[in-house]
């Protein structure tokens, strides 16, 4: 889970000559792979880009609890229910961790969350798709967490220290979720009934393309992407990461005994990669604009949770204040 499209504010890259001495020093540090830490000087654009990216990433963890939360009350066995709960709990933890990393840049989590609820901040497009059968819990773990990991493994080397350290910690848990998700599908394909096998294929059919969209648009021409790469916030292009994901996922798909909903998917002996069909970019941009299947429901649920919980948070603040006064009086 991460950010797919992050504005950097850059129209084109600055040359070394156009940079101020501070900018040049910063760029040299980045080029030398020295991590940038909260107290270091950084260009305003770098700071803002990271706030956008890390907050989108954090929002994705939180909104991402909802499609799985949709099945937690209906999980079919005690074991699967416990696994799903542990996973959702991890996601809340990842959200907290990422909001903390974001706050090292001077941003405020409540303000950023407010932007999410107003539709001004994005989260990963994948969570706007509904979870319609139990096998979706397996497919989300395998494909969605799988796609997130491909991206996050690279982000472990991102130039901003706190973000990079968050990724190292988060990747460990995500890999575990991905294996668990794959196991759900594998068990159903190996030992399940015909109905269960059909559930698995149905889940893959619905989530395959949305998972590929998680890597974002073709980015070679985008100034945002070039700037992020120059700052080493991003380390690989969207298309490179997508190809890596496809190459590692297709053998897993075949091992399951399932198929991808892509007639153009085939091994290319010459390139040593899988070729695959064109993504429906219209759908991708529609979803990002708020017109996916569940965009409205997801934001409404999150906004309601925070709005309706206001009196609870106010009570906690009032109580803490009273306790402080009592301690001073004593």
């Amino acid at each position: 889970m991460y950010a797919q499209l992050v504005e950097t504010g850059a129209k084109r890259l600055k040359t070394k000559e156009e940079m101020s001495p501070e900018e040049r020093e910063f760029q040299e540090k980045v080029d030398a792979e020295t991590k940038i830490e909260p107290k270091n000087w950084m260009p305003e654009g770098y700071r803002k880009t990271l706030i956008r990216q890390i907050s989108q990433h954090a929002h994705s963890e939180v909104v991402g609890m909802l499609p799985e939360g949709n099945w937690v009350t209906r999980a079919p066995t005690l074991k699967r229910k416990l696994q799903l709960m542990a996973k959702i709990q991890d996601e809340a933890g990842h959200g907290l961790y990422l909001y903390s990393a974001m706050e090292t840049l001077g941003a405020d989590r409540d303000e950023e969350i407010e932007k999410l609820h107003q539709g001004k901040a994005k989260y990963s497009s994948i969570f706007n798709y509904p979870t319609l059968n139990w096998a979706d819990m397996g497919a989300v773990g395998w494909l969605v967490d799988g796609a997130a990991i491909v991206n996050q493994v690279v982000l472990q080397r991102t130039s901003y220290g706190p973000y990079s350290r968050a990724m190292i910690r988060i990747c460990k848990e995500e890999s575990f979720h991905q294996r668990q998700g794959y196991k759900i599908l594998l068990d159903m394909m190996r030992e399940g009934t015909e109905e269960q096998k059909a559930m698995v294929q149905d889940a893959i059919n619905r989530l395959w393309w949305p998972a590929l969209m998680m890597f974002g648009p073709h980015d070679d021409e985008s100034p945002n992407s070039q700037q992020s790469m120059a700052w080493k916030i991003k380390r690989k292009s969207n298309d490179e990461l997508r190809q890596m994901f496809i190459d590692q996922t297709v053998p897993q798909l075949e091992f399951l005994g399932c198929t991808a909903p892509d007639p153009d998917l085939k091994w290319n002996e010459e390139t040593g990669h899988y070729d695959f069909g064109e993504i429906n970019w219209q759908e991708f941009y529609d979803v990002l604009k708020g017109n996916g299947p569940c965009n409205r429901e997801r934001i409404k649920t999150r906004k309601n949770a925070i709005d309706e919980g206001a009196w609870v948070r106010e009570a906690a603040v009032a109580y803490a204040e009273k306790q402080k006064q009592r301690a001073q009086a004593a």
Binding site: T73, P76, I184, R313, A316, A318
Partner: protein, 254 residues
């Protein structure tokens, strides 16, 4: 009632109460008032369902009719469920959620504490692990009862209302029946008088600190969960929880 019968019954009560309360907490996923609470609620739910699994596994061995823990959880209907009525009450607002949790946690904490010294070693072992978790649950829920009770005017009003709504289900937590008495006499379960005394003591202490008024000690109490007579809520909980197992009865692996 023989001791063997009472033991099976008693284990199902422990398991079912954990299971149903865990299920109620799962309903709150993504809807908590803060991200920290999302984590905590799922954490508590995870503990409870984990404990339910341990009790079900032991119960399944004793019942010994081919049903495993999953069958006990997902294939019994409401009248066969033995959970406390408290645990099946709806989440409502956060005051009710926390009040329900607090009343149950106090009962749970003292019960488990006693069960760690059970003459049944298997029970003592499960309880020892569960007690650590229940200690955390109780600390958390009693803190919230105090925060809400002694927070703002609105939170105080809501928390008092929650206590008033839930009070009629507290009697079942501390009123023993034959099963409880047989378990106590065998040194397997807690002494009912002691449990009631401990429960009242802690509830009064926390509610007083929270500036809240407990219900009357002689108030009318709604009971029956331990015998399979539930409120109207349980049927819906089970319909949702058991849907997959019921809809695909031929599936043996999930």
């Amino acid at each position: 009632m023989t001791q063997a019968e009472a033991l099976k019954e008693y284990l199902l009560r422990l398991a079912d109460s954990d299971m149903i309360l865990g299920q109620r907490l799962c309903e709150l996923c993504g809807k908590a008032p803060a991200l920290e609470e999302e984590m905590a609620l799922m954490n508590v739910a995870l503990d409870l369902v984990g404990q339910a699994r341990n009790w079900y596994e032991y119960a399944a061995e004793l019942i010994n009719d081919g049903r495993d823990a999953d069958k006990l959880a997902f294939r019994r209907d409401a009248h066969e469920y033995r959970n406390l009525l408290m645990t099946e009450q709806p989440n409502e607002d956060y005051a009710v959620t926390m009040g329900r949790q607090f009343f149950f946690d106090v009962y749970h904490y003292f019960t488990l504490k006693s069960l760690t010294e059970s003459s049944d070693e298997r029970i003592a072992g499960i309880a020892a692990k569960a007690l650590k978790e229940a200690t955390y649950h109780l600390r958390r829920s009693s803190e919230w009862v105090k925060r809400l009770g002694d927070g703002t005017e609105e939170s105080h009003r809501r928390m008092q209302e929650a206590v008033d709504i839930l009070w009629r289900f507290t009697g079942e937590l501390i009123t023993p029946d034959d099963t409880d008495r047989v378990m106590a006499e065998a040194g397997i379960g807690p002494d009912p008088d002691q449990l009631a005394k401990d429960w009242r003591g802690m509830v009064n202490e926390v509610l007083t600190q929270a500036t809240l008024t407990p219900g009357a000690e002689d108030a009318w109490m709604y009971m029956g969960g331990k015998h399979g007579e539930h409120t109207e809520h349980l049927g819906f909980i089970l319909a949702e929880m058991q849907f997959l197992q019921r809809a695909y009865p031929d599936a043996t692996t999930w």
